[in-house]
Amino acid sequence: MTDSTIPSFEGATCPVPMRHDDQIVIGHGSGGRMTQDLIARVFSPAFMNPILAQSNDFASFELPPNAMLNGRLAFSTDSHIVSPLFFAGGDIGRLAVCGTVNDVSMSGAVPLYLTAGFIIEEGLPIQTLERVAASMQAAAQEAGVKIVAGDTKVVERGKADGLFINTAGVGWIPPHIHIGGALACPGDAVLISGTIGDHGIAVLSARGDLGFDAAVTSDVAPLNSLISNLLEAAPGVHVLRDPTRGGLATTLNEIAHQSGVCIEIYEEKIPIHAPVQAACEMIGFDPLYVANEGKVIVILPSDQVDAALKIMHNSPHGAEAAVIGVVKPAPSGRVLMKTSIGGTRVLDVLAGEMLPRIC
C-alpha cells in the first residue's frame, strides 16, 4: 500500500487553471495564492525593504536613536471595497476602522491613530456617507483610537461601486512584546477567538446575488481590548493573526510557512454557527476559507492555554474562543486537518476566488 501517512486533497476549491499574465482579474484580490503572486511579482520588487520583508500584516520599526521612545511602532494599512456598503452587523465604515485597528493589534501594539482616505463614486447620497462616518466614529470610540487624518476623492459614476475606503493605522508596541508570524514553535497550542465564516456569509446574504437570506451577522469588531487582556494573562503568546480574506485555512498556511512548522487542527473543534454551515453547504463553500473580520488566531505555549481561554471568554468578542489545534515540527509549511471521521486532509492556501458550485 502507498505511504499515506500524509493524506491527499484538501477539497473545496478549484485550482486556478489559467495564469492571467497580462491583466488584473478578480482573483488577484481574493487574498489567496493569486494575491501573493501579484505582490511578489509587482509590489515587493518595487518597494523592497527589510521592513516589508517581515511579511506581517503590520510593519514594526524603531525610531532613530535620539527619538524619545522605547518599544517600537506598528504601522498598517487596509483598503475596503465591500459591496453592499451595509450588511447585518456592520458596514464599510466599521470594517475600515476595525480592519486596521486589528492589523495593528496583531503585533501586540496598542493602536493609537488612524487615517482614512475615501474614494467616492459620483452620485452617492450624502446621507449614506454620513451613516458611514458615524459608524466609523462609533467603531473608533469602541476601539479607543482616533481618526486623525484623511483624504477625499470623487470619481465618475461607475468607477467606484459607491465608496472605497482606505485606512492606515499606527500603534505602539511595548518593549517586552515580541509577536510575529515566524515565531510559532512546535508544541504550541492553536486557538481561535470564536466562530468562523460569519462575515463572509453575512455579506453574501446581504448582496443577494445567490438569493439566500441567512440568519448570520458579520463579526466585524475591534479586537485590541481582547488582545491586550490576553497578553496580560498569557504573556508568552507567539503569534496573533486575524483570518480575513482567504479565511482560517489560508491564514494558518501563512503562519506555518513563515514559522517553518506544521499546524494540525481538528475539524470537530472548530466553532461554527449552524446557519453559516448551512449556507456554505448550499453553495459549496468551505467555511475554512470564508472571511472573518472579528476573529484572531492565537498561537502560544501550551501551558498558557487555560489562562488564555479564561480571559478570552471574559473579554469582548471572545466568548466562544476555543483550542483548535497544535503546532508540530513537520512537515514544514503544511497545514493538516483531522476530519471528524478520523481522516487527515491537507489544507492548502485558497488558490483563486471561491465560487458557488453545483458539483
Binding site: 487553471p17 489559467m18 453545483i358
Partner: protein, 365 residues
C-alpha cells in the same frame, strides 16, 4: 440539519469501515461516478480509512470535466458579445477553452454572472429586457430539472431574451461506455444518489446484469459513502451483482415521476461529445423542438469553432479509470493546476488535480 449531522457521525463511520475491513478478502476496484462523491470522499478523508485492498476509481461524473471543448469555446464566444449577459454556475468559470476561460472574458469586459440557479438567470432576463441572457445549462440528470423549469418559466412569461446553451449528459450511457471498454477494471459501482433521486434506479438492473457488476445507489455524507462501499464489497465478496439502494431516505426505484415528466417535456436524448472520452451516442439531452427558440446554439451564430485540445492529455483514459494521473507523461510537469492541459486537472473533483496535491504533499515529507 440534525439529520445530516447523524450521517456524519465519526464513530458510526469508523464502525462501518471496521466491518468493511473485516469482510474484505481480496483486491477490488470500485468506481464512484459522481464528482460530488469523489469530492466528499476526499474531503472527509474516507479514502484513507479504507483497507488497502479497495481501490477507489473516480469516474467521469463531473460536468465540468466532460463538457466538450467545442461547447466551451461557443460559450466563450457568446459571453464576449456586448449584447449578452452570460450566466453560469460557478464551476464553469475557470474551465479553459482553446484559448481563454470565462474569467478572462469577464476581465475583458464581457458580462459574466455566477448564479446559484438557472431560475435566477430567468429573473435577470426579466430585469434586463435590452440584453440577451444566456444560461450555460451543464449537468447530469440532477441539474436537468432546474434547467427545464427555467425554460418553462421563460416560456410562460413570454421572455424573448432568455436562452440556454445546453450541455446535458446522462449517467447510464457513461456507465455502459466504461464497463463495456475492453480494458475495464471497474468491478463495482457506487451510483450517484442525487441523479437517482430524480431518475430512480430502474435503469440500472440491465447494466448490472449485462456486465455482472454490483451497483449500489449511494449518498454523499461520510456514513452514506461508507455504507455504499460496504454493501458493494459484501456483494463482491459474495459474487453477486444486483442493484441495491443505500440512500433510501431520498431515492426510490421509480424516482420522481413528476420530475421525469418535466424532463421528457423539455428535453430529448441526443448524442453528446464527452471531453476526453469522445462521442457517446444518445448520452445527452437537447431541447425538444417545441422549445428550440430557447436554444442558444440556434439564436447565436458564433461561426466555425476551431478547437485545440492538447495532444498530450490522456483525460479519456483517466475518466474511465483505465489509467491513473501519474501514468500520464505530462502529469505535474507540463500539466499542473496552474497550467492544465485537460479538464481533470481543473475541477475540484478532477482525478488529476487530486493526485497532484497528493503527489506534492509526498514531496514535502
Amino acid at each position: 440539519m440534525e439529520l445530516s449531522q447523524a450521517f456524519r457521525d465519526g464513530e458510526l463511520v469508523q464502525r462501518v469501515v471496521k466491518e468493511i475491513r473485516r469482510i474484505v478478502t481480496r483486491d477490488w476496484v470500485i468506481m464512484e461516478i459522481c464528482g460530488g462523491q469523489t469530492h466528499a470522499i476526499l474531503h472527509s478523508g474516507l479514502d484513507q480509512l479504507l483497507p488497502p485492498q479497495i481501490e477507489l476509481v473516480h469516474g467521469p461524473g463531473c460536468p465540468v470535466c466532460v463538457t466538450s471543448l467545442e461547447l466551451i469555446d461557443k460559450a466563450l464566444a457568446i459571453a464576449a458579445r456586448p449584447d449578452v449577459i452570460f450566466c453560469s454556475f460557478g464551476d464553469m468559470l475557470r474551465v479553459p477553452g482553446s484559448n481563454q476561460d470565462l474569467f478572462s472574458i469577464k476581465a475583458a469586459g464581457g458580462q459574466v454572472r455566477v448564479v446559484y440557479s438557472p431560475l435566477d438567470a430567468v429573473k435577470i432576463a426579466q430585469q434586463n429586457p435590452d440584453k440577451q441572457v444566456v444560461f450555460f445549462a451543464i449537468g447530469f440528470e440532477t441539474t436537468a430539472p432546474a434547467n427545464a423549469a427555467s425554460i418553462l418559466q421563460a416560456k410562460a412569461m413570454g421572455l424573448k431574451n432568455f436562452s440556454l446553451l445546453v450541455s446535458h449528459v446522462c449517467v447510464p450511457p457513461a456507465m455502459h461506455a466504461i464497463l463495456g471498454a475492453p480494458n475495464n477494471r471497474v468491478q463495482g459501482f457506487l451510483a450517484a444518489g442525487h441523479v437517482c433521486a430524480v431518475m430512480g434506479y430502474w435503469e440500472y438492473p440491465p447494466i448490472a446484469e449485462k456486465y455482472r457488476v454490483p451497483i449500489v445507489v449511494t449518498g454523499f455524507e461520510p456514513l452514506d459513502l461508507a455504507q455504499g462501499i460496504l454493501m458493494t464489497i459484501r456483494q463482491l465478496e459474495a459474487g453477486t451483482h444486483s442493484v441495491e439502494n443505500a440512500y433510501q431516505r431520498i431515492v426510490s426505484k421509480e424516482g420522481n415521476q413528476a420530475a421525469q415528466a418535466i424532463l421528457r417535456r423539455v428535453f430529448k436524448p441526443v448524442d453528446r461529445n464527452w471531453r476526453g472520452v469522445g462521442t457517446i451516442p444518445l448520452s445527452g439531452w437537447g431541447l425538444q423542438p417545441e422549445f428550440a427558440e430557447f436554444d442558444a446554439e440556434n439564436r447565436f451564430d458564433v461561426g466555425h469553432i476551431q478547437t485545440h485540445e492538447s495532444p498530450l492529455c490522456i483525460a479519456g483514459e483517466i475518466l474511465r479509470g483505465l489509467k491513473k494521473p501519474i501514468d500520464c507523461p505530462a502529469f505535474a510537469t507540463l500539466c499542473t493546476p496552474a497550467k492544465p492541459l485537460g479538464a481533470p486537472m481543473v475541477s475540484s473533483e478532477g482525478a488529476c488535480s487530486a493526485y497532484f496535491r497528493y503527489h506534492r504533499t509526498q514531496e514535502t515529507t
